[in-house]
Symmetry: C2
Subunit: 288 residues, 2 copies
Amino acid sequence: MFAETLEADAVAIAAHLDGVLSEYDDLPVTRAMRWATDGGKRLRGFLVLEGARLHDVSRDRAIWPATAIEAMHAYSLVHDDLPAMDDDDLRRGQPTVHVKWDEATAILAGDALQALAYELVARPEVGGAEVRAELALTLARAAGAHGMVLGQALDIAAETAGTPLTLDEITALQAGKTGALFAWAAMAGPRLAGASAAPMRLYADALGLAFQIHDDILDLEGDVEKTGKRLHKDEAAGKATFVSLLGLDAARKRASSLVEDACDALAPYGVRADLLRDTARFVIAREC
Amino acid sequence: MFAETLEADAVAIAAHLDGVLSEYDDLPVTRAMRWATDGGKRLRGFLVLEGARLHDVSRDRAIWPATAIEAMHAYSLVHDDLPAMDDDDLRRGQPTVHVKWDEATAILAGDALQALAYELVARPEVGGAEVRAELALTLARAAGAHGMVLGQALDIAAETAGTPLTLDEITALQAGKTGALFAWAAMAGPRLAGASAAPMRLYADALGLAFQIHDDILDLEGDVEKTGKRLHKDEAAGKATFVSLLGLDAARKRASSLVEDACDALAPYGVRADLLRDTARFVIAREC
């Protein structure tokens, strides 16, 4: 049930993105935008759609912020992969944007995808002006120098400093780098409904951290064929990760315990949130 | 009167930006954001403030979108200056962000400044939800692959193609590259007031094009000390510009005629818009 829903939602989000992106002129930049948003699990968009379903928000409204967060995530990957950043040539088993086109196209495609994300949440189809303004404001905060960019900046600062981060510092870094978009995605559903987003925020905070710990484990133990990206990068760079600091066993246990926390946070929703509980379990079992 | 108001507004916008940026953690990225937003004429922010004044919108509200458009403009300059783009080492007489820090910091600082722009227009201080959602939506469209990024993409495509652009193509390119943000800035005031933005749109379209033609003239005839940036770049790159296509005299005449159009577009406001008429005249007389 979970796997089928995740897959069906990914297809729906892809179709919606295609529709939006097909409105652009055909240029390398817009082709690169399509390339960058193609594939992936679309876990953040799925969280938007599931959070919306849980709050009886129509799919027709929720598909917009679901697509928005995938555009935002795609932009962050395109810029992260640039030579000046992580210098990655492989993503989802395909050449990254700056490899397939060039750096200028990758910078611009990322820039345009970020703009697109705000456009998608501010469109009239999303609902009343109050919720659209709130989604735009919270998305900007999640993406900016208090959120995702802060996480990336802390990451770069750590590399420059040369001293490995502590567990608290890595947790803060990841709260920005991956946590902020996860939290926004999970909270979009209740926000669309005008309901409290507190349970979904708790859920997402635990889920985001579990996701990142599992990413660190995959970087160490994953299969390049399955993950579709280069591995052992943190190790090679001498970067502190959850695994290097906790050890593999303790990292696994911490991720499992976070998944339990995430499931517990959904208590107010009862069995209706079982699919989100499956999502949490999937996050630490996935092979890519 | 015009020069004093432009200067006073620039100071007010700088102070407001400082307040906003001082909330961030002290990191190279946030220092780079401050660096990138420092200096300049702040013409776009001035257009927001003047458009607001013309529609009796309070300064306390208008300062937010004025600051937003300056953050957006600063982001576009930081990314434009990157080695993979225009590769500029000098801006406003100072080293560009990637020269003073590094490319990764410049990419991230630009990314965060774009996010900040949306945050600033979506904040409650700006007004009702309807206008905040509208400002966010229109700003995203102005910045994205239908607006500013489209202009930059057309610019890159022209360089790659190797065939010089026609006058129509350059006009379309500039409508995206500089025109979209000018138009948004000029229309923010009437939007804040819930008034028709049509006269300000006409004004901005003519103004933006005149601005760009004058930029082309400055690139050819300007003083590197006064402009604070490298000159003769278009010529060296063999790029078609308004000057190379029209010739210097005809380009000047076209800019003058556009300034007249811009002034005429303000007829509905009568003498109350005289400062905006002075702005149009300034745009083609400026030395930087």
